[in-house]
């Protein structure tokens, strides 16, 4: 069985989750795998439910939306409710613990992290939520090398925001290691 990994991140428009998905796909490509990032968002510029599907595979990726999730992450209740589909029995679920309150205890492994609180208190910028989340994901799944993830982040973030994004990723990564 060749390697195949599907992840979905659900969030609120403005949290940067679509870009975070692109970081992960880019890092996977740098690591020599096939990867695709496919976003879904609404007409609301900020505040609407948003998701991004990321597929990483050794094989050719025929369809660019997830059908069998290995990982589901949500940073708010609405996207959690809307996009909690395509799960397998063993899909790993990562949740923003203060914003996703109504959780389905359906036997899947759930990791709860106060991601937004970390962004506010440790980084001082809520908009880094999604980058922290990818740090957690990379630490827990070890899906891509953290150094490549940093390289991917640096290749895509606006000038002047490099340091804070790397700091946010590293914070997420350190927090995530505890849940391996």
């Amino acid at each position: 069985m060749s390697f195949h990994f599907e992840a979905r991140f659900g969030a609120i428009g403005g949290q940067g989750i679509i870009t975070a998905g692109a970081f992960l796909a880019t890092a996977a490509i740098m690591q020599g795998m096939n990867a695709v990032q496919s976003p879904t968002y609404t007409s609301q510029v900020r505040g609407g439910p948003t998701k991004v599907d990321v597929i990483i595979s050794e094989d050719e990726i025929l369809f660019n939306r997830c059908t069998k999730l290995d990982l589901f992450l949500a940073t708010a209740q609405r996207p959690y409710d809307l996009y909690y589909t395509d799960l397998k029995d063993d899909t790993l679920v990562i949740l923003e613990e203060n914003l996703v309150k109504n959780v389905r205890e359906d036997g899947r492994k759930i990791i709860k992290v106060p991601i937004i609180e970390l962004a506010e208190k440790e980084i001082g910028l809520t908009v880094t939520t999604s980058v922290i989340a990818t740090g957690i994901v990379v630490a827990v799944t070890e899906i891509v090398k953290p150094d490549l993830m940093k390289e991917a982040i640096l290749s895509r973030v606006p000038k002047g925001t490099e340091a804070i994004n790397i700091k946010a990723f590293e914070l997420g990564y350190e927090v995530g290691k505890k849940y391996r």
């Binding site: 692109a22 990032q37 879904t40 025929l62 660019n64 395509d86």
Partner: protein, 380 residues
Amino acid sequence: MSNRKGVYTGNELIALAAIDAGCRFYAGYPITPSSEIMEVMSKELPKVGGAFIQMEDEIASMAAAIGAAWTGVKAMTASSGPGISLKAEHIGYACITETPVVIVNIMRGGPSTGFPTAPSQSDVMQARWGTHGDHPTIAIVPGNAQEMYYETVRAFNLAEKFRTPVFILGDEILGHMNTMVELPDPSELDVVEREIFQPKDGEKYKPFDMSKGDVPPMGAFFRGYRFHLTGLNHNEYGYPTIEKDMIRQQQERMMKKVENHADEIVKNELFNMEDAEYVIFAYGSTGAAAKLASKVLREKGKKVGVFRPITIWPFPDKQLDEVIASGKYKGIMVAEANLGQIIYEVERVNKGRLPIKDLLKLDGTPVSPTDIVNRFEEVF
């Protein structure tokens, strides 16, 4: 060798391919989910000496692209369903004046403003009959990132070769996905260059010269000779005519130049078809979903193949007929992200020979491989 390997969205690939195919004019008006095409064109066209204009609206964008084409350059515009509705009048003008121009529609939900950020395939019939009157249509439905690039190049080639507007029908999923693509060096591409009419010995340019075959030579403004273009039925010189033989001959030639050359325009992918018992007919991102569904169904012991048109207009009548007439298959399932458009074309070609089942879905989410697998198991 090319060092243009990178992570691109489908929309970016269309824009980059257009430039590599020689497009030097873009006029448009931003609309989700196609805006990134415009964004890239605005940045990249000036670098290669091209012109980019954000027009006041969709109608003007279409007009500007047609005008640019008649100055001798390759031109493109891009939009989504609501914008294409507005462009419809000028698309007809492009058809009757036989103007090579590429029109991209990154399809979203409709009608009206519909669902701007959601995928659909509900404009395939709009591409065929969105403007009034009998006219030929060439429309391409890329199904993956590679095709967003290479089929855009082909769209320009077909527009030049047949002197007619060519649609690229993408959809929101294809437009917005990010994936890795290695772009070729533009010099490696087969690109059809326009031969612009140059008069010899005071020869008069006839933009609709029927003696020059189905596709008359293309002229250009500002080259020292005069000619006339009109949306009215016209004679060989482009002047309005009420002469019935002229109208009929010109109309028929205009249709024939595409119909008679369908084999050069039609393109399909046959996936897992060799030993298949059933066929899924699907295009665009649904075609991609069908390929994955075919793999999943085969793991379950169902021999399923995929007929994926890459050119949707002209419709692959001959190629689909061959599949049906081969007697190898027990049934066809048509999957599309609308409530039934292309299925009627499949039924027309099928002429009742094979059972046809449908998977029609229009709810703002893509037709997924899981949808196709479930529906297939339900109907066959």
